[in-house]
Amino acid sequence: MRHGRYPFIIGFLAAPLILYVVFVISPYFQAFYIALTDWRGITATPEYTGFDNFARLFDDEVFWHAVRHHIVLLVAMPLLTIAIALFFSFLLNLGGGSKGGRMTGVTGSTFYRVVFFFPQVLAVAIVGVLFQAIYRPDESGVINGLLGKIGVQPIGWLTNPDLALWSIIAVMVWQAVGFYVVLFSAGMSAIPKDVFEAAALDGAGRFRMFFSITLPLLWDTLQVGWVYLGIAAFDGFALVQVLSVDRGGPDNATTVLPLEIWRNAFNFSKYGYASAMGVALFFMTITFAVLTLRVTRRERIEL
């Protein structure tokens, strides 16, 4: 029945696969090789040094700072984003109470959805520059200006080592929430109404419905969102570069691995070392993804 499937298969796979191998797979393999050398990134054949770079990585306190930050990012960023997004999705879809057996959102839901999603369409580098002025540490920063009106001293959002990373996380959350509001809203509206009607008949109010019905049925979407946000937590390059004190400060309080890779490659010309860091980053990302998918795996609920 399926005549000529092989030419078809090959024809359809050829272009994407070739493009992919040339631009993605081949560079990645080379990067692994470079990680085993002490290549200073300019010319010359690199000299093989085995696992030297990795040993050095182990002793590098800046590297471990960055790793710690990624762990914080991994936990805090998805948690905050998803929690806030769920809250708003709830309000926008179910917060209006039940009306004639159907759940509605509060007034103006569409407007809110439109507004909340907007930061997603801004490029992250642009968001970073936007927030530079917002976070400025003296009275001319927007937040500090507002605080000044109620008599609070200016706060060093990005200069205080304890606050700096959280300020950056706040920007990430700011940008991401709207996307997940829309995503979860769609997920919620995909739940057949009869489920809610049945629950309403049984006397469940909106909160009960949310926790016992909506949340479990949204689980797949939540899981995807968590993985997606987690992978973003291993990045953070643009924001840290633009916003932090001296790129990663103060005192390494905000540095992330992409930034250190960048710095080692472009400022110190230590491409071997930078590639080793990239390899480490890769293994961490993979571990995270696998773990998350394993741990959050659940029975798919058939609707």
């Binding site: 493009l19 081949s26 109470g97």
Partner: protein, 310 residues
Amino acid sequence: MATPTSAANPAAANKPAGRSAATKPAATTRRGGGGTGVFGTLAHVALIVWAILIIGPVLWTFLASFKTNAQIFGDPLTLPTSFGFDSWVRAWDKAHIGLYMWNTVFVVALSTAGTMLLGSMAAYVLARYEFPGNRVIYFIFVSGLAFPVFLALVPLFFVVRNLGLLGTHGGVILVYIAYSLPFTVFFLTAFFKTLPTSVAEAAAIDGCSHTRTFFQIMMPMAKPGLISITIFNILGQWNQYLLPIVLLPGNVEDKWLITQGIANISVNAGYEADWPGLFAGLSITVVPVMIVYIIFQRQIQSGLTSGAIK
């Protein structure tokens, strides 16, 4: 021919709950819905606060583009005194914002089109045809999701250079496509798997070639998923900062994309102390995006939703 059940179109089957929000929620008559008044107010407060948080920075930046340097260093909450557009002109002209925007639109349009075409071709084959190596190839594509781009940066540069594509939009487009393939293939494969086989079989019986089946039957059926992945890709490629910097170095400034342009201006504003110019540049970047977004937000949001929900 049986009409395919649109398992992929749950959103189309139900009106999204938000549509009926125009009517004020009446006091509930059932148990469990009590306290609408208090809850309703709190809900509104929370929503309004977040809306202010979103709009605030953008609005402030817009207003700040009309201030002078001295005013920007003063009280941030005062309004500008004059509304001249000279900072905007400086940003457009000296800083080439218009050019960068056009470059970005051009590059993203072509690379998204390419990504969707190649990605769906690959995903379709991987999803619906058994052949030796299927799982391996799928795995190769999807494993790209786990690799950080930073790892490949320098070797990638060589490859692009060896192909003579450095500093060209063509090179950027090909690289964008290649790096968008993992995500696209991953989602579209899962998506294509959900399409019913009955249609394809019927088409084969009718004598449709594989290619025709793909383009004329399966793709239209997959439209919602395709739309949503397209939007994902546009957003992702629009966002790119690292790749343009490496592939479009400083000697081809006329080819630059908007993210590197804005970053450059923010450093420029640093060295030349032209902060109003920087804010004007930001505004010029943000305003058209906002307008496009407002016009198309329904499509964007419905495209996202119907495709991404499994």
